[in-house]
């Protein structure tokens, strides 16, 4: 004859499994899989460096896919063999002004000049900013950013509170390309910023193909220089390193036509929600606010 004890009684009453479950340590919930569309949607975005080399409508369509509210655009002459006369840079800026008119509220125009033509360049800055552009960009390889030819341009932009975004290139140790002597390296930005610390100077695209460790370490010593995160390079750790060298407040979200990776590299970085928000939106918006061009 079987002996009835407390355990067998409870088991026959169907209670033991419940108690067993009560005793067990709850299994940890698996971490939810990263939700890419939700992450894209989570942040307001201002693209601080882009172009309309192609149809501006395509840029707007691409920005819509990534939920980018406004896109800073310019049309620089990137062929170093081409002479960039005042007629040439005025025509580039006319394209930007037309795009701003055709897509109201979507484009932030950046005025492109060649400082070699000083009087025309300064007049063009007035024309473009009076017409609603937000600053200068993408200043290209015609003249190095620390060249004295830029000094009057700096003086004017400081007075106008206008940001100056310039193509950063040749980011490799001890390297200059003799065929493009006007390319601005990170150390050229540092020199310019030390001379004009009041200027809002933006190093164009730390992911633009150069050695981003070289660029970020160089720029550390010029605390007034901002850097945009654009470019085709999406190296793992690049944004984290830029934050380590420059701080969150000096970084500006941008794509430079690399829309998916422009957003993806910031989503991948080890940042807090607030830090990501600053880079995607707030930092550039604060620059825009100085001339009341900010987004609301």
């Amino acid at each position: 004859m079987s002996k009835i004890n407390r355990r067998s009684f409870l088991a026959s009453a169907g209670v033991v499994p419940t108690l067993a479950a009560w005793d067990a340590t709850p299994a940890p919930k698996p971490e939810p899989v990263y939700d890419v569309p939700a992450a894209i949607h989570r942040y307001r975005k201002l693209d601080s460096h882009n172009h309309i080399f192609d149809d501006p409508a395509k840029v707007v369509a691409a920005a819509d896919r990534l939920e980018i509210e406004k896109v800073a655009i310019s049309v620089p002459i990137t062929d170093p063999r081409k002479e960039v006369t005042p007629d040439v840079f005025r025509a580039c800026n006319d394209r930007v002004l037309k795009a701003m008119k055709d897509f109201p509220g979507r484009f932030l125009g950046q005025c492109y000049i060649n400082p070699h033509y000083q009087r025309d360049a300064l007049e063009e800055i007035d024309r473009c900013l009076d017409a609603g552009m937000i600053g200068l960009g993408e200043l290209y390889t015609q003249v190095r950013i620390n060249d004295p030819q830029y000094f009057p341009v700096f003086e004017k932009c400081i007075a106008l509170k206008a940001p100056i975004m310039c193509h950063g290139g040749l980011a490799r140790k001890d390297y200059r390309n003799p065929e493009i002597p006007g390319t601005s390296r990170a150390d050229d930005f540092v020199e310019a910023a030390h001379r004009y610390p009041e200027a809002m100077l933006i190093y164009g695209h730390i992911g633009g193909g150069g050695d981003w460790e070289f660029a970020c370490k160089s720029l550390r010593s010029a605390p007034t220089v901002f850097a945009d995160t654009s470019g085709s390079v999406t190296d793992e750790g690049m944004i984290d390193f830029a934050v380590k060298c420059l701080g969150v407040h000096r970084l500006l979200f941008a794509t430079d036509m690399n829309f998916e990776t422009g957003v993806g590299k910031l989503l991948a970085a080890n940042l807090s929600e607030d830090e990501r928000r600053q880079i995607f939106f707030d930092n550039f918006n604060e620059i825009l606010r100085k001339r009341s061009n900010h987004a609301h």
């Binding site: 990263y34 490799r172 633009g208 999406t234 793992e236 998916e260 991948a268």
Partner: protein, 268 residues
Amino acid sequence: MRIDFHTYIGHWPFRQLRGNTPAGLIDYMRRFGIDQAVVSNLNGVFYKNTQPANEELAEAIKAFPGRFIPYAVINPTYPDWEYDLEVCHTKLGMRGLRIYPQYHDYKLTDPRLAKLLELARGASLPVAFSRWLVDDRQHSWMDIGGQLTLDDLVPVMKDNPGTFVLLNTTMAPLKDEHLAALRNVDVYFDTVYATACLPHASGYDVRRLVEVFGAGRFLFGSGYPFRDPVSALVRLEIVKEFDHSMMDAIWSGNALRLLAHTPRQAGR
């Protein structure tokens, strides 16, 4: 299901990599919902004799059964590579090959490469070319660098029957003659440089190429841990033009079909 066809373990001598171990990859896969990853060992790019890199890989992934699909690094200009290839295939469970002519110092016209492609075809092993490992513009002063272009690669694939995978392919410049030739080649493209936004110098319009080749040629790839893990996902997540079956094919269906042709020979 998601299969990442382009990952690495191992070291890159010129920059610190994070997540470059099987455990690091598993962490990436867990966070981003990746079920399996095709992986090779970067150390094989730099070892003169690549076989220890393949042995390291086989040993390292043992702790994670079913999660990794190993690809061997073979240098067809180094002695006894045929034996290494056989060992990789029959004993180490390798399911394909990755080759690096730039770093292993041979031309794509080298007859020893033709021999490798012939043996790979006989063993039903796909051969993966990587157009580059790092952007030339940022290469170290100690790095050879160099890129493979479609002008280099297309004749090789055209003249040597087999199955190929192009990793890090920017498809630029993509000429009509390339398109015509690639239609007749059993070649797959990873999505590291795919874009559904603005095609530019370092990206290819995945919508256009799917129109040309069909969705059956594309494999989801991240390039992790070289490249950040989210950009690769964003590239596909924002493509609105593809239906579910096309997306399923790119996320995993094409990879599964490709892997079905190269059954695992060892370590069952």
